[in-house]
Structure formats: structure tokens, C-alpha cells
Amino acid sequence: MSSVPVSWYLLLAAALFAIGTIGALTRRNGISIFLSIELMLNAANLTLVAYARQLDDRTGQLIVFFVMAVAAAEAAVGLALFIAVFRQRHTIDVNRMNLMRW
């Protein structure tokens, strides 16, 4: 039955994480960056579940549960911030949010 090795899942998670990272670092739209970060979180979750399977320990699944809750909170606050920024600057292009410079 268990013909797929757990390390494949891990590798897939790493790949998803790498893709998410590229997205977070290259996109200029704040929302898109946010989506990429969700992708990275998701990859981390996948790793946790894979290890829970590998080590036969449910703690990994519980951590995923908490990560989801935190991600929800983060999404709510983050999107609220984007709305606030948009009111002020009329844009959510992070390249234009560069006041913290010399």
C-alpha cells in the first residue's frame, strides 16, 4: 500500500516552498505576494504532515491546525493593512512603498 516514500512528499513540499519564495520575492502586487506567502505556509504544512506520517506522531497534524489558525489571522490583518495602505497611497504596489529610505 505505502508505495510512495515520504521523502517524495517532502521534496514536493520543498518545491512548492521554492516556488512560493520566488513569487514572494519577485511579485510587486501586494496581494500576489500575500498569495505566495500562503503557498509557502502550505508547503510547510505539507512537510509537517509528512513527518507526522513518517514518525507516526500526531503532533505534526496538530501544529498544522495551529498554523492554519495563525494564517487566517495573518490574512485578516494583512489584508486590512492593504486596504488602509490603498486608501492612503492609491496603490498596493510594494515598489511604490519605499518611504523608508535615505
Partner: protein, 650 residues
Amino acid sequence: MLDLLWLIPILPLAGAAINGLLGRRFPKSLVTAVGVGAPLASLVLALGCLWEYAQGSFPNDAFERTLYAWTAGDLSIPVGFLLDRLSSVMLFVVTFVGFWIHVYSVGYMGHEEGYRRYFSYLNLFMSAMLLLILGNNFLVMFVGWEGVGLCSYLLIGFYYDQPVPPAAGKKAFIVNRIGDFAFLVGLFALFAKFGTLTYGQIFPRIAAQPGLVLGEYVPGFTLAAFVALCFFVGAMGKSAQIPLYVWLPDAMAGPTPVSALIHAATMVTAGVYMVVRSNVLYQLAPGVSMFVAVIGATTAIFAATIALAQTDIKKVLAYSTVSQLGYMFLAAGLGAYSAALFHVVTHAFFKALLFLGSGSVIHAMGGEQDMRKMGGLGKHLPQTSKLFWIGCLAIAGIPPLSGFFSKDEILHAAAADHHWVLYLVGWITAVLTAFYMFRAHYMTFAGRFRGTHDQEHHLHESPPSMTLPLWVLAVGAAVAGVVGVPKLLSFGLISNWFHHWLEPVIAQPQGLEAGEHSIGVGLEVGLVLLAVAAGVGGLFLARSVYGGDRGFARELTWAQRFPFLHRLLENKYYVDEIYDALIVRPLAALSRFLWKVVDTFVIDGAVKAGAFLTELTGDVGRFSTTGNVRNYALYFFLGVILLFWWIAFA
């Protein structure tokens, strides 16, 4: 009443605090009430304490009370007050003279700005001086010592909006500091050896071990000699002895009552008090004592000669003070401690009288101090003239006024020890003293008026608040001598009551009886006659030169006849100029070097170099801070990768 001894210094302090801190809206009468009331309360309390002290009997004739101990870790300094034979004398002089000078100030300072400030400082001075006297250990004395120095500084620079007084105050403070440094070294030495500074513990212990040395740090000195020397250097500063006397004449820039109280009657005698207090040390160090006597005699004659040619009435009195302080140290150095203190007492009366008299003159002249512009004031200021005359007689040593007895006792002490050179110096100084004092009197009060018409129109006798203290002090100056009439002159009835009063506090050197018996009666009578001759001779010499209407003209011809000598004396032997060239200028040059080169170039340069490097780093590094969040995130990610590599593979 003795339980309230501690209140004596506290009351003037309270007065100073009330006037100084709260008195901003006080009416003038209230300021006066507080400013004069506090010393009056102190005087009354002091008299009560003295009465009780004289009645009662105490162990070692000393009433000692520790108020509390100032403790820090293992160190514990008791803050206590001591009333013994010595401090009782000083207590009386300071509270009595101090109170009357406060009264005088009401009239003298009445029209001045800063009336409240003046009384606040003066009360503070009283407090510090009483602390100095009443402390039962050297640390309390030192606190008072520094306190009077501070008040002296504040009061010399009282007219701070004029150019001279602040500079004079600064000079006084700095010169005093040199002496204070030595005083402190002496205190440290004592403390290092005994672990305490209380008189009652130190003196018996040091007397028990005369050969005690401090250690290899000061070779060639016993502990007693070293400490005695340090203390004397401290006294040099405070009591204006060569070479640290230069501040006292300049201190005349302060108000005249201040000159009378601080720079004549009380503060400057603190050094004498301290030496007498430490007489145990000095008796264990004959070499240092001799040094003290020589310095005292030198100062006495040196200052007296300068006083001959001064034209500022207060400067004459200032050099006179320096000279008389020299007498006191001469006596102390010769071991005649009671004579030294006796002269302190009589000097306090007559010099305060003279200063206040000169203040009355200056007041009448509208601030003019130059005697060349005075003359003939006797007509306009009859009371002042008479009282000043009494002061002159007293300081000149004309019997039976007080100065005669104290000065005679000092000269007698020199003769009794067969120090004939010192005796001669003292005698010549006595002649000079009489001469310059009567010169001042004749130039001021006799002859014709030489000032402007306006000034002549303004001349008036001073108000009663100023003349009353003069009368009181004149009585004191006249009769204070009776407490110290020697056995010979009272035909055996009294044998120097003052001397016996002080006996318990003055250790008797072994094998030396009291000086009175060491020379024959015939010689003693001769010495007394010589002393009288000195005073009277000086008086008549001055009269012959300056008396009459043409007195001032003769002063000018004298100056033309001995131009070099006159210039030398008029310019005070150029001592200030010499100090300026030898010490002040090199010091200023060194300071300028440290400022311009070391501070500006080296230290500031190092700081600036640091700032420049930081700026350079920032200039280069700021290109990495683009303000773009994505760039920062990328740096973060690269850092994470590095960390990850390090954790996983390194």
C-alpha cells in the same frame, strides 16, 4: 542651655535659607529681622552656653556632644560639637562681632541692590564659621572651613556686575584651594594612621607616640611634623600668609562689612584657630613650629611695609590684617598659643572697628576709597573720626588699649625664647604698624578736604545703626586687653587670666615652664617699655609727617625723594606680577596648549575621525537600503539560505 549648642550654627543657616530661598517677596523689614535676628539668637544662645559652661565642670574641661554619625559602610564619621576653653573664646568673638557687623550692615547696605542676597550670604558665613569652631573633629572643621571659603567667594564677588569683584572672588577661591589641598592631605594622613579625626582621640594618641612616622612615603618627617606642615600650608591659604596672602588685599572688592567680618575679624583667623587647636602636633614638631614663626614674622614685616605706601584706605587695612595675622603665626610658631589666640580676640575687635570706621567714611564719601581724595573728614564725621582713632591706638599698641597687651605678649614670647631676630622683626613691624595706621588716620580725617565739591556737599555722619556697632566695638577694642593683662603689669594681682583659661587645651612641652618666668623682671620691664616706645614712636613719626594741613603734600615729596622704594611698595613688591609671570601665564599657556592641540586636535580629531568613518560607511552602505520591501525580503531569504547551509552541512 548647653544641650542647645548645636542650634548655634543652625540658626544662622536657617536664617540664610529663609532669606535666600523664601525671601523673594519679603519686605525689607522682614529680611532685616531674619538676617539680624538669626545671629542675635545665636549670640544669646552662645552667651547662655558660655555661662553654663563657665559654671559647670566637665571632664577635661570640655563639653562634647555627638549629634549623629555619618556612616558609609565601615566608615563612620561622628558629627559632634565641642565646647572647650578654646572654642568658647572663638565662639564669643564670632557671635559677638558677627552680630554687631550684621547690625552695621543694615545701615551700610540699606541702599544697595541685593540686600536679601547679602544677608543670606552673611548668615551662611556665620553658620559655617560657627561649625568650624564648634566641630569636635577635623572633618566638621573642614566642612566649616570650606563653607567660609565659599561665603568669602560669594561675598567678595557680591557686586558681580562690576569687573573687579568677581575676579577677586575667583582669585581668593583658587588661592585658598591650594592651601585646602595641603590641609586635606594632612587630614588623610591623620585618618590613614588613626582611622578617626576626632580631636579627643587623635591628640592623646599622637602625644603618646611622638616618634610615629607615616611610612616610607614621606621620609624625614614624623607624622606630627608632616601633618603640622600640611595644616600650616592650609592655614597659609586661609589666613593669608606668604606666599598665599595675595588674595586678601584683592578681597577688599567686597562690601566693607564683609571685609570687616570675614577678611579681618573671623574667617582669616580660622588658620590661627586651627594651629592652636592642633598645638599638640606643633609641639611635637619644633622644626615646623620654627618655620611657622619665620613665615609669620616675614609676613608681618612684609605686609607692613606694603601698607606704608597704599592709598586705598581698605588696602591699608587689608595689608594691616595680613601683617597682624603674621604676628599671630609668629606667636603660634614660638609656642605662645595663648598669645596667638589673645591677639586673635583683640584683633577681631579693633580691626572690625577700623574696617567699619573706614566703611563709614566710604559711605559718607559715596563709595570713594582713595585717601588722596579725602582729608579733613574729622569735621564732618566726628564720631567716626574718634572711634577710628581708638582703633588706631589699639592696633598701634598704645597702652592700655587691647592691642598693646596682645602684641606685647607676642614680642615677649619671642624674647623669652631668645629669638632676638624675630623679636626685632616684630618690633619694627610694631613701629611700622603704628606709622601706617596713623598715616591713614591723618590722611583721612586731618588736613583739608581734597575731593570734589559734590562729595564735600554730601558728607554726613553715618546713621545710628552704623555708629552703634562702632561704639560697641570701640569699647571692646579698648578694654578687651584686660583679660590678658600679664602678672607684671597688674603688679601681681592678676596673672594673665586669659593664659590660664586656655591652659587645659594647650599641651605643655616637657621641661619648659610658662614663658613669664624664663627672663628676669628687669629685662621684662625693659621689653614692655620698648613695646610702648614702638607704638608711640610710630604715632609721632606719622604725626610729624602727615599731621597738619600740609600732610598730604609731604607724602608727595616723600614719594619724589625715594621714587624707587615708593614705587616698589606702592606696587606691593610686584608680587602679583611675579606670580602672574611665573605661575598664571605658564598655566594659561599650558591650558591653551591642552585646549588647542590636545583637546581640539587629538581628542576632537579622534571623535571626528570616528564620525567621518561612520558617515563614510553610511554613504556606501545606504545604497543597499533602497526602501523597497522586496529587496529587504531578498536579503532576508539569502541570509536564511546561508543559515540553512550552515546548520545542515557545516
